[in-house]
Symmetry: C2
Subunit: 217 residues, 2 copies
């Protein structure tokens, strides 16, 4: 069905059907290309949030990353992110159903003060702060490559063992390198190789995991 | 300067220099391509938030859109957005300096209830709610094409006259059409033509306007 407004033809889709229809279009445009079953909805959700089909190629999953992450969420893992935007975008109600919470320490005054004093990024200090959480942690990094570098070092020092690192910072300075580095850290990961990513993609991947859990129950 | 961690060579850039260095890289990769002076930093900020150079081609500005928007902000205009993510990403401190606030009505209970009752999107109802604000309004639409369609109709009915519409919803259902429509509404716009956009791009454009104001004072 169609509706014409101002000479423009609009497809008539009920509000609750829009997302479903969007995923159908994404699937059509992938022209028969398939992904491992557990990765499929996560890859398509990253495309959905960006309209950028590069995510069909650049998303890298360590072995069983999705299954490990879902089990962690079911056991109450929390999510730590490096932006308030990603925190805003993650479905906190879905996560809360399993006991988890979303944390972002970037705006904390103690983080800002320590970052300034030590001449490092707030993102790096935020990762140190996350080590003090007495819970399982999934990291969702959508902005700061320095967060991934810091996580790599904290993991090497045995200070933290994340259940999953979603490594999708976006940008131009050390972003490519930080993603390559985190894939060698020895912990499960979902990484958007290259420069692309962002808070929206980080949130989309978190929500992809949460919605898989919902759909399976 | 370089630093090597885990065999990966990282560029050593001081935290406060990272954004500046990123914009230098973006400028380099645009290979001498230039934009109108007032659009330059906004286009580059959209690229910066997405690592997607498509924004060099798809961003469309109505005549004097940037100047009109900056004047509105200086006069205390508020920003209404269609996602909590964009709200989280907009520099509220910079906007507040001129008396403006950021609103997002998407999670309001009355909006959800009315949308359900009328079978339309919450985004459409949110736009109606924005008409009741007794302030100048800049709309920053990063998600819902239905928000743009509703704004078009409200403008035609004389119910609202936005100072600027940032029309950068992302997606696959009516997104392309809604953007073409809003460019005919007779109000100033910054639109990312095509499917691409998002809350991150909406926030980046708002911040681009705010930072231009800061830099000029």
């Amino acid at each position: 069905m169609e509706k014409i407004i101002g000479g423009i033809v609009l497809e008539q889709v009920a509000p609750k059907e829009i997302e479903k229809r969007s995923f159908e279009i994404i699937t059509e445009e992938l022209k028969g290309r398939t992904f491992p079953a557990d990765q499929d909805s996560i890859i398509k959700r990253a495309i959905h949030t960006s309209a950028d089909f590069d995510y069909a190629d650049n998303l890298c999953f360590s072995e069983n990353a999705v299954a490990i992450a879902k089990e962690a969420i079911l056991n109450g893992a929390c999510i730590v992110t490096d932006t308030q935007m990603a925190k805003a975008g993650i479905n906190k109600k879905s996560l809360g159903r399993h006991g988890g919470e979303v944390y972002c320490f970037m705006s904390d005054e103690d983080v800002a003060a320590e970052a300034k004093e030590r001449g490092v990024t707030r993102a790096a200090i935020s990762m140190e702060k996350a080590c003090k959480l007495e819970k399982d942690v999934i990291f969702a990094i959508g902005n700061a490559p320095t967060a991934l570098v810091e996580l790599y070092e904290l993991i090497q020092k045995g200070k933290i063992k994340p259940k999953l690192i979603i490594g999708v910072p976006v940008g131009f300075v050390n972003v490519v390198q930080a993603k390559e580095l985190i894939m060698t850290a020895g912990v499960p990961y979902i990484v958007a190789r290259g420069r692309k990513g962002g808070s929206n993609v980080a949130a989309a991947i978190c929500n992809g995991l949460l919605y898989q859990i919902n759909d399976e129950r």
